[in-house]
């Protein structure tokens, strides 16, 4: 299903950057348009772009000021947008991430369940039954924003962020979920651990997922978690 492209706005972001707004809210169809635009712009404006940043409903296009200007980029974008409406809803790859859900690996699991008036088993079931979409990658290298979490288990960020969240922590903030790619501070609710490395500079590809991919969490046992190379890691 296509959506109207006349809603799309192009704004100036900076001296060598334009930002395309495809919509105002999280929507898989909008996200799919962002992805299509990335692919087509890469070819159409090849040699003129420095980088692009796709996100939930927008695409930042950064260009080389010595090779082009905002007028040419703008018209390039317009041309690409006119092709979008007809495009089919391209599906990303399906990636399965093993998930060791427990109170040991997810110190906020119980509190989250209580808030939601659910058992921890129900929270795990709801989180792992949903298919998520990678809407954006940012905050830290390899940090993929996945959405949308079932409303019943959505939870606000912690009032005091932790100073140390371990690598692999599966977390929820509002209707987003993510796997921490590295040890870092963080204010999301931790419900489990994933043994898959989300960011490995030495690996090719560096990340198992990209924007537009579909993600499912597959619950695993403690033993399976360790067998897959998982580590508990200190939480502070």
């Amino acid at each position: 299903m296509s959506i109207a492209t006349d809603q799309i706005r192009i704004e100036i972001a900076g001296e060598n950057a334009l930002i395309i707004y495809f919509g105002e809210k999280t929507d898989p169809r909008v996200s799919s348009q962002v992805q299509q635009a990335v692919t087509i712009l890469e070819t159409e404006l090849s040699g003129k772009l420095i980088d692009m940043v796709p996100s939930y409903a927008s695409l930042l296009v950064i260009y080389d000021q010595l090779a082009t200007d905002h007028l040419e980029i703008r018209s390039g974008i317009r041309k690409v947008l006119s092709q979008l409406g007809e495009s089919d809803n391209r599906e990303g790859n399906l990636v399965i991430l093993p998930a060791y859900y427990s109170t040991e690996s997810g110190p906020d699991l119980e509190a989250l369940a209580q808030r939601a008036d659910l058992s921890t088993e129900e929270v795990i079931k709801i989180h792992s039954e949903m298919e998520y979409r990678v809407y954006a990658i940012g905050f830290a290298p390899g940090f993929a924003y996945l959405g949308e979490v079932d409303e019943r288990i959505a939870a606000p960020r912690l009032s005091t962020p932790r100073t140390r969240v371990p690598r692999g922590a599966i977390a929820i903030a509002d209707r987003q979920t993510a796997v921490y790619p590295a040890v870092s501070p963080g204010g999301w609710n931790l419900i489990g651990l994933c043994p898959t490395r989300m960011f490995n500079p030495e690996a090719d590809p560096t990340m198992p997922v990209q924007v537009g991919d579909r993600i499912r969490f597959n619950p695993i046992s403690r033993d399976e978690f360790f067998a897959l190379g998982g580590e508990l890691g200190e939480i502070r």
């Binding site: 900076g14 980088d51 692009m52 940043v53 996100s55 695409l59 940012g138 940090f143 990340m207 990209q210």
Partner: protein
């Protein structure tokens, strides 16, 4: 071995090339020199290609011992340069010999200086760049700032030309400056009154000013809403969090974020701002994207047309 021993690393010395580009999609920021002009001059004065790896010295305090013959240059902030205890001119290539001691003192004016060596420092690339981003733990030596005892490898001595930049072409790093901003992003979320306030007020650089962003203090600017869906942040973007105090985002910024932005500062001026210390005063001028583009191209031509003097 051929290179330099780090005797004292200084407050924050980072290995930098021109930056890491094309990796925003996996969340990697650009890094690279905060003052790109001083960085480019440093490389040019020792006859290096523009993307050669050099050192960004913040505030000063670096001491190196040479284990190779080479030419070095220090460009940027006014940090006194001494070779074997004798003060030497900055923006000026100097021949050094193995055993020489190179000292970069603390800055009298400006915050960032660039030390380049003929042939460049040889540092492994990660994601096609040597640029250190400590927040990401990427680039340089294991993503860290220089430490005492680190060893900076260099190419075997090669015949490089050396130059000096005549005084009249050297930038000055004075305080109390006006920096140019293109309105954009969520500018419509700021009323005419809020925009006038922003462009007519004076702001101070706070002590929360680093490679990620410069947090400013001054009259509060309020957008009509608090948060937006997270979106890509370009270099120089000025984000306004709930407290109304602007943050100008620089080389080590997060690639995406959800605070409203009033526009972006041009790169030529973020370079000037990055030379300011906490307490410095700045104000903003609005310019159009076309004027900004012209300024960029003019600066490019001016840089290429400015001939440094040979010191060979």
């Amino acid at each position: 071995m051929s290179g330099f021993k780090v005797v004292q690393p200084g407050l924050m010395t980072l290995i930098q090339d021109a930056g890491r580009f094309g990796h925003h999609r996996i969340g990697l920021t650009t890094g690279g020199p905060l003052d790109a002009l001083a960085f480019k001059w440093a490389n040019r004065l020792v006859d290096n290609p523009m993307n050669t790896t050099a050192l960004e010295i913040s505030f000063g305090g670096l001491v190196l011992e040479a284990e190779t013959d080479a030419q070095i240059v220090l460009a940027g902030a006014e940090m006194p340069l001494k070779i074997n205890g004798i003060e030497q001119d900055r923006w000026h290539a100097h021949k050094i010999k193995a055993g020489d001691k190179i000292e970069v003192g603390f800055s009298a004016q400006g915050a960032r200086a660039y030390l380049a060596v003929s042939g460049g420092f040889q540092v492994a690339h990660s994601f096609s760049s040597s640029a250190t981003v400590t927040r990401e733990g990427i680039g340089g030596f294991t993503g860290e700032k220089l430490q005492q005892g680190d060893y900076l490898h260099c190419q075997a001595p090669v015949k490089h030309k050396g130059y000096r930049l005549p005084e009249q072409h050297r930038p000055d790093y004075a305080d109390n400056i006006t920096l140019r901003v293109i309105t954009g992003y969520q500018q419509h979320a700021f009323s005419d009154y809020q925009k006038r306030l922003f462009f007519s007020s004076e702001y101070k650089v706070t002590d929360r000013a680093d490679r990620m962003g410069y947090r400013l203090a001054g009259p509060e600017v309020k957008p009509s809403f608090d948060g937006i869906l997270s979106e890509g942040i370009c270099h120089g973007a000025i984000q306004i969090p709930a407290d109304g105090q602007p943050i100008v985002l620089l080389n080590d910024r997060q690639t995406i974020g959800g605070y409203p932005k009033i526009g972006s500062m041009i790169a030529m001026d973020t370079a000037r701002m990055a030379q300011l210390l906490p307490g410095s005063r700045i104000s903003f001028d609005e310019i159009t994207i076309d004027d900004a583009h012209n300024l960029h191209c003019l600066a490019h031509i001016r840089f290429n047309n400015t001939e440094p003097e040979s010191v060979d």
